[in-house]
């Protein structure tokens, strides 16, 4: 992977730093320069180039989350109508709808019964301005909830994080502390990350204390940049405090 590079809006990015393939994918924050082959950054942040996937984009640590198709989100159940569940993603997004049959193996008789405020881990199918966001809990090609583990989330707790950290967690980028904590906590923990800045954590064996430990770790990861060593130190500190009670 190339060295991390921080760009400011208006900065030119030479052709040599962007994949040139016909099938390349240019993501958020880059726009082509009309005069030359190069690109101009339109937002400030980290330039991420993946040569294998032929993609390039600029990621920002914290900008407002706006749903787009393909995102994994954690949504909260609000109300039910004949064919749909109505869910809540975040304060500034329109209401989301989830077809009652869009669960793994769901039929008219076996569809899940959700109660108010229940959590659902779902994928965004379509999101357009002034329209409800459509979610789904199954992979349309296989009819299964894998590989993302979609579906209702029971037990556990939800933590609010910045959209930037949620992104990093999904990409497993510089979040070594989570692996470390999983190995140290008794029985490990289960985690679901929503792009809307929500992280659901469950820790069946270590209980509430374990969940809180993970939550504290998330907050620290969000606050400042931590190196590999600092992350290990952080896990050590959290674990000793947990054992002390």
């Amino acid at each position: 992977m190339a060295t991390p590079q921080i760009v400011l809006p208006g900065e030119h990015i030479p052709v040599s730093q962007i994949p040139t393939s016909q099938k390349r994918k240019i993501g958020h924050g880059l726009r082509p320069d009309p005069d030359t082959e190069s690109f101009i950054a339109t937002i400030g942040g980290l330039l991420e180039v993946d040569w294998r996937k032929k993609s390039a984009q600029i990621s920002t640590p914290n900008a407002r989350y706006i749903s787009k198709p393909g995102d994994l989100v954690i949504a909260q159940f609000r109300a039910s109508s004949t064919d749909f569940f109505h869910l809540y993603i975040n304060p500034h997004s329109p209401q989301a709808i989830l077809p009652q049959l869009a669960f793994e193996g769901a039929t008219k008789k076996t569809r899940p019964q959700l109660k108010t405020n229940d959590l659902v881990y779902a994928k965004v199918v379509s999101a357009q301005k002034n329209m409800e966001i459509e979610l789904s809990c199954v992979n349309p090609s296989t009819g299964k909830s894998e590989p993302d583990g979609l579906g209702p989330l029971s037990g556990g707790m939800v933590f609010d994080v910045s959209p930037g950290l949620a992104d990093r967690l999904l990409k497993k980028q510089n979040v070594l502390a989570m692996d470390e904590l999983g190995a140290r906590l008794q029985g490990g923990f289960e985690i679901a990350v929503g792009r809307n800045g929500k992280v659901w954590v469950d820790c069946p064996e270590a209980g509430i204390k374990g969940i809180c430990a993970v939550g504290r770790c998330l907050r620290q990861l969000d606050d400042a940049e931590l190196g590999e060593k600092e992350q290990k130190k952080l896990v050590n500190k959290i674990m000793t405090e947990l054992e002390r009670g």
Partner: protein
């Protein structure tokens, strides 16, 4: 002429806003907190722009409520931002910027102290800080922009000396005050002047402001020079406004080194 004491900028100082920044003018002058919400719904249908983003700027003085002076500055900041924000990326939405002055410079060397920022006084000193804070907030909120902009305040003393970022006492003595804003591709986007001056003074002030914002080395259209802040930021003037903005962003961005 570089700034004697660089301004300070911190990104993401507010928790609930989409983007925020705190900007402190050189020599511990004005401190302005910017809160940016973007993109949000336009409250009034009549304000909605079908093919662009509606920009709303609210400026709150350090005491009292905003009046004519603040309205005027809001208008100037809005117009400057309109030239750099890529509004067509988020049509029919609003970019809302709230600027709160949290600290004004005061000089206690004289009995009673000297303070700036009163309603009847010049607005130019605060204008530069307000614009810089707004741009920083937009960078933090991930607003799509053509380029970033920065402003500098230049005072011309009665003896013809240029002072970049004059202190409150110096400002009172200056024959004229000027504010210039430049984009990172070295275009002028704002010029406001007050007082008595000649065209030559004005040109000189423009040059002084340009070097304070963009640095003494003309760094335009640089593909690979400004990357990563190691080679050029330490090499050239080092404390021009664009470098300060870059450093603020670097402090905020979390680099995902290991994958």
């Amino acid at each position: 002429m570089a700034l004697t004491e660089p301004p300070k900028a911190i990104l993401h100082t507010l928790l609930k806003a989409d983007g925020s920044a705190t900007y402190t003018a050189p020599k511990n002058g004005y401190q302005v907190v910017a809160g940016v919400n973007y993109p949000v719904e336009v409250p009034y249908r009549s304000d909605e722009i079908p093919e662009s983003t509606f920009i709303e700027v609210n400026l709150r003085p350090h005491n009292g409520v905003g009046m004519v002076k603040e309205r005027h500055m809001e208008e100037l900041v809005t117009r400057t931002l309109q030239t750099i924000v890529l509004g067509d990326e988020t049509p029919r939405t609003m970019l809302q910027i709230t600027l709160q002055v949290v600290n004004v410079e005061s000089d206690e060397s004289l009995p009673g102290g000297v303070k700036g920022g009163g309603q009847g006084e010049t607005y130019l000193d605060l204008l530069a800080s307000a614009l810089n804070a707004a741009v920083l907030g937009c960078v933090d909120a991930g607003v799509q922009m053509k380029a970033i902009a920065g402003a500098a305040l230049v005072g011309i003393c009665p003896d013809g000396r240029m002072v970049v970022g004059p202190s409150v006492v110096q400002r009172k003595k200056c024959a004229s005050l000027h504010v210039f804003a430049f984009t990172s591709d070295s275009q002028t986007v704002l010029m406001e002047s007050e007082g008595k001056f000649t065209m030559d003074d004005w040109k000189q002030a423009e040059r002084a402001a340009r070097s304070a914002v963009l640095g003494s080395v003309n760094k335009q259209d640089n593909g690979d020079v400004t990357m990563n802040g190691t080679n050029i930021t330490s090499g050239s003037s080092g404390n021009c406004l664009l470098d300060v903005i870059r450093q603020a962003l670097e402090a905020r961005v979390i680099k995902g080194g290991n994958r």
